[in-house]
């Protein structure tokens, strides 16, 4: 049941391999473009997987000092760009000091990425960590003069969904008037690419990067790493109505569970993830037959895509034949802790543009992933309710339900 004063998305800021604005992202997504290419930012000669979806350069937000911005770690640049973009888009930027603005970030490896980048370039932050102990989130809160609480959450690849849930809850508790929430990750680093490669989680289709991320396809061989992020401005409906704000979607439902099975491998038992999806639909007050689109977690790994298909079967039953499903990771690659936020943005784009984003590279659908695929090309459709699955290391299962307003 939709509450009397629901929480709405009224602003978006993003930088992804598909573009640094919502418009560019939505255009590329619905054009079925692949953002995956050969990694060019560091030597990859001995890496088992040599491709990724990369954000070439994060633009400096308007009003920021370009020299100071250039000196920030790329993850912090990304966070600032997305935050400022979201607040400007929602028309809160100039009035941000007048209200309590909270900040919730999904990010699982802020310190790891910062220490690695610095250490590999000869820096000392890893060894003198006490001199560099302020988190980028608290720094952003301080420098942007935001007065609400802040929080970093990580459920690996499901982090962005938790961030949106926390923000919605803070708004419902009355702790904040406005909350900026989402997720950012800049995980395409030399060590990280090597670690995931050595885990044998990544595609090794190095000769054909744009065809490497192929969720649900019989010939998939692993995921493709990517980087980027999306931050959203959330506020209560009454506030948005009063301001005459542009509304992207309602944050309508959330569900979460843990497999308690393995840190890396999804549970063969679909029950925990099924529970998360059912919770989210219940929370949103919708039945499976009311879902117009599912943005699947599907990363393009042999095990994970089949496991998610079982979950979707359990939740939707016979109705699954009619529910369009796609994995936008086929175009963006897998943004790890930022994936859920960017996929929430893909759902927003589907509602906004009246079109379902496709799963590209789906040339030979795996019979074990028998779904109502949106294969290779976007399809026109009215999307009122979208469900976005995001699962992660540590056995995390989440589902976010967005409703059109």
């Amino acid at each position: 049941m939709t509450p009397s004063n629901p929480v709405w998305i009224t602003g978006v800021g993003t930088a992804t391999p598909l573009g640094h604005t919502y418009k560019d992202f939505a255009d590329s997504l619905l054009a079925g473009k692949s953002a995956v290419g050969r990694v060019t930012t560091f030597p990859i000669g001995d890496h088992p997987s040599q491709m990724a979806g990369q954000v070439a350069e994060v633009p400096c937000p308007p009003g920021h000092d370009a020299a100071e911005f250039a000196g920030l770690h790329r993850l912090e640049q990304l966070l600032r760009w997305c935050m400022v973009g979201a607040l400007r888009d929602a028309d809160w930027w100039d009035r941000r000091r007048e209200v309590r603005v909270g900040l919730v970030l999904g990010s699982g490896a802020e310190w790891l990425e910062m220490w690695e980048t610095d250490a590999l370039s000869g820096g000392s932050k890893l060894w003198e960590a006490h001199r560099h102990s302020e988190s980028m989130l608290r720094r952003a809160l301080r420098l942007m003069e935001l007065s609400g609480p802040c929080l970093t959450v990580s459920a690996a690849c499901a982090s962005g969904n938790y961030a949106l849930m926390q923000a919605r809850q803070w708004l419902e508790l009355g702790w904040v008037d406005v909350c900026v929430a989402g997720a950012c990750d800049m995980a395409v680093t030399p060590m990280s690419l090597a670690c995931f490669g050595n885990l044998r989680a990544l595609s090794r289709r190095n000769a054909d990067p744009q065809a490497a991320s192929r969720p649900f396809d019989r010939n998939r061989d692993g995921f493709v790493m990517a980087e980027g992020g999306a931050m959203f401005v959330l506020e209560r409906a009454d506030s948005a109505r009063r301001r005459g704000a542009r509304v992207y979607a309602e944050v309508a439902g959330f569900g979460a569970s843990s497999d308690a099975h393995n840190m890396v491998i999804p549970s063969p038992d679909p029950e925990p993830a099924t529970t998360a999806m059912r919770q989210a639909l219940d929370d949103a007050g919708v039945t499976p037959s009311e879902v117009d689109y599912v943005n699947a977690h599907a990363t393009s790994t042999p095990v994970g895509d089949v496991a998610e298909t079982r979950v979707l079967n359990a939740v939707f039953g016979d109705w699954l034949k009619r529910v369009p499903v796609s994995s936008t990771k086929s175009m963006t690659g897998h943004l790890l802790t930022a994936a859920a936020a960017v996929e929430a943005l893909a759902c927003v784009a589907a509602m906004d543009r009246g079109a379902l984003p496709p799963t590209i590279n789906l040339d030979d659908p795996d019979p074990e992933c028998d779904l109502c695929h949106v294969a290779n090309e976007a399809r026109p459709a009215k999307v009122r309710v979208a469900a976005s699955n995001s699962f992660g290391f540590g056995g995390s299962n989440t589902c976010l339900v967005l409703k059109a307003v």
Binding site: D46, W115, S154, A155, P190, M263
Partner: protein
């Protein structure tokens, strides 16, 4: 830190038989400490992990994975990509302690890593308040871990300096229940421009693992329960009020100026510290 290798097999003395050798082999020191703290809490109150099957886990490590990155950089520079550990992403990230706890104890509620840097206690209690207010889960394990001293020196291979300690605090929290007649209650009040003035109460230490531990221990010793309360300040005027409640205490959940959490399930001492 010298105890960590042994704790990987036996996170608590009563763990018999020991865990399989691969169970915590790759886990970060803070994950090991967190597991040990939950074991101690369960044992201290005579509870079975199975009773918490639907509970969630929020774990707030402090500067997670620093030793692993130090060692990893050393190996990467010497051996190239093939020297990079495939275990680093799963076991040394912010979400690793919560995932490890969930897996080992078979807790199937949501598991989330929180904060990872300064302000862990503030952030994890704010996150817990929001999750429990939603009543999606019957309860939450909240586990804080940190090194003492904070951010200790590590060498180029990732080894800590001698004398470094790793501490952990495990709390079991439930939503406030009207029927609660005794126990410890935490009320989280977010900061910001609009702030409720704090009531008069005893001054308290900083809101971190060690401060929270000392407050809970003090409350456990307190006999005049109706007046026992501490206020731990958060940023921007926010605060956490910790009180020991008695039969006459009023503890209705108040939206708008705070979210209450009961730490009652584990009686009056919901904490455990890892062995050093």
């Amino acid at each position: 830190m010298e105890a960590v290798p042994e704790l990987r097999r036996k996170p608590a003395p009563w763990c018999d038989p020991p865990l399989p050798i691969n169970a915590l082999k790759q886990a970060d020191e803070q994950s090991v400490a967190a597991i040990s703290a939950v074991h101690h809490a369960l044992h201290h109150y005579g509870l079975a992990a199975a009773a918490f099957r639907d509970w969630g886990v929020l774990a707030a490590p402090h500067y997670m994975g620093r030793t692993a990155v130090a060692g990893g950089v050393h190996r990467y520079q010497n051996e190239g990509a093939w020297g990079a550990s495939p275990h680093l992403p799963a076991h040394r990230s912010l979400h690793s302690p919560s995932g490890t706890i969930s897996q080992l104890f078979k807790f199937r509620g949501p598991n989330i890593g929180v904060c990872g840097g300064p302000g862990c206690a503030t952030e994890v209690l704010a996150a817990a308040a929001a999750l429990l207010d939603r009543k999606h889960v019957p309860g939450l394990w909240v586990v804080l871990t940190a090194f003492d001293p904070d951010l200790p020196p590590v060498d180029r291979t990732g080894a800590h300096a001698p004398g470094t300690h790793c501490a952990a605090l495990a709390l079991a929290l439930t939503p406030p229940r009207p029927a609660t007649t005794s126990g410890i209650r935490l009320r989280v009040i977010a900061g910001g421009a609009i702030c409720v003035p704090p009531p008069t109460a005893e001054s308290a230490p900083a809101l971190d693992l060690f401060g929270l531990k000392s407050v809970l221990e003090a409350l456990a010793r307190e006999t005049e329960i109706s007046r026992a309360a501490f206020i731990l300040p958060m940023e921007a005027g926010g605060r956490v009020e910790v009180e020991k409640i008695g039969r006459t205490a009023e503890h209705a959940h108040r939206n708008g100026d705070g979210a209450a959490l009961d730490a009652r399930l584990l009686c009056s001492l919901p904490l455990a510290e890892t062995q050093r």
